[in-house]
């Protein structure tokens, strides 16, 4: 699979116009959009995520990269549909009931989209019922976020709700959340940052 360096670099540097221009150009030339997605676009977001985990880039750089990625995705979406391309899996994500802090949740949602997942962003202050409805709509992974120690306990309720569903994975994250807590409440995974969250979702889908 060859990499389109202009698109790859445009996403990594968050240069939206560069991505739009080049994607349009290769679309006009009849490019294979599935190959473009898997060979150039997803690798760019994966690499920016790795740099984020290594403190080589920070939230602003992630945001502009994700927006450049989204601009490219919007352009190739019709062609991907036509080619019968399916997202890797559907993931729903939200901050738990009582918590409106969504900075981390939004970053994870962007990175999941950038990794090729279909993301159902449920927003903030989400109840068990809301996550349940998203699962009924086809989400196979439920991602929970909390900033407050006082809202964290609600994660346990969501995990318990899905514990008998062998086809649903629950991944948790947020400032006060730890690997130990994830284990204690029986979540399938814990992401320490937005990049790790993507890896955890990928891993738990293979289990």
């Amino acid at each position: 699979m060859t990499r389109n360096e202009t698109i790859y670099e445009g996403i990594c540097k968050g240069n939206r116009q560069q991505v739009i221009d080049e994607v349009q150009k290769v679309l006009d030339a009849g490019a294979d959009t599935v190959e473009l997605l898997n060979g150039s676009m997803i690798p760019a977001m994966r690499d920016i995520g790795e740099k984020f985990s290594r403190n080589e880039v920070y939230v602003p750089e992630m945001l502009i990269a994700a927006r450049a990625m989204q601009s490219g995705l919007d352009l190739i979406a019709p062609s991907l549909d036509q080619a019968g391309h399916k997202a890797r899996a559907k993931v729903c994500i939200g901050t738990v009931k009582g918590d409106l802090h969504d900075i981390g949740k939004n970053l994870v949602a962007m990175m999941l989209k950038g990794a090729g997942f279909e993301v159902d962003d449920l927003g903030v202050d989400c109840t068990v019922e809301k996550f349940d409805a998203a699962v009924s709509q086809g989400a196979s992974v439920v991602c929970l976020s909390a900033l407050l120690t006082t809202t964290m306990p609600y994660m346990k309720e969501v995990v318990s709700h899905f514990k008998d569903r062998g086809d649903v994975r629950v991944v948790i994250g947020g400032a006060p959340v730890t690997q130990e807590y994830a284990k204690e409440i029986g979540a399938h995974g814990y992401g320490a940052d937005a990049n790790q969250a993507v890896h955890v979702v990928e891993t738990c889908l293979q289990e």
Binding site: V59, E61, G98, L100, L148
Partner: protein
Amino acid sequence: MESRERVLAAAERRKTDRLPTSLRCTPEALTALKEHFQVSTKQEVYDALDIDLRWIYLPFKGPKERSAAPLGSEGTDFWGCYNTPVTNEFNTYYEITGHPLTDAESVADVDAHDWPSLDWWDYDAIPGIIDAELRAGQRAIMFFAGGAFETPWYIRGFERFLMDIYENPDIVTAICGKVESYYRERALRVLEAADGRIDIIGSGGDIGGETSMLLSPDKWRELIKPHSARLIQTFKDMGLKTFYHSDGAIQPVIDDFIEIGLDILDPIQVGAAGMTPEVLFPKFGDRISFHGAIDEVHLLPHATAREVYEETQRVMGILGGNGGYIVSPTHMVQGDTPVENIIAIFQAVREFA
């Protein structure tokens, strides 16, 4: 020894009879403390705990439609941001959900915003507010001026503001400049009203996350630091002590804060990357004092009072090595923290040998 001397000595890294203390509480935690001590005011609670450093707040007297307290009540605040409440099992919290400059496309749009007036505050109330804190002794008084990073993104929207760092740096500079000069001038008016009875001017804004800074140290230095510096240096030059609050992993810029005249760094979020007392004290302890460091994320809500007592004394043994430490929880104490754990912190301070 009086509280005020203890705090000022800590800001200068001098040892006194004991390390000074400070406390911030959510309304729910404060109510629990009032019930415990059978008292009716915040000052009585703080006097019962012998809290040395007192934060004072400036009452608003501006237009009703802009009177919501930022992150403290529902509605539009003085900046024009909309605050929405959400309640969990332990607390009601507010988040900013309406950002008035989210659609601004130019510096002219920023200028055209309905910026708040400095006359919207009741400066005449300041002497009485200070008197209330001093009823049981000479405490150290701090006024928290504000900050030039967090308020700007409240006004612009978080993601929009962080993308502006690359795409519209002029908008970043314009908003930060407006906010900084407002907070600086407001604090100068408060100081005038206080007539020499304020010891510390605080400023702040979270620039750190759990694992790293929210923005790169270089971008912070380029676009945010000059504004933060004015909010610190102005008061340092007047002979006051300075205090800066930022959650998270901010070790890469502590030297910068020292350079711009900071005396006291808060809150030392010990669970964030590179922020443990063991790491910070040897690196910076001879040049800056610390405030906070008693973990409100994991320790205070979940540990026993005995564990809190021991951890407080352990941290005091490190950060208090040269006297430059004001003992305090790392965050507003939440409704899930037992009263006995709050009391254990201050008992540990009194009994520290």
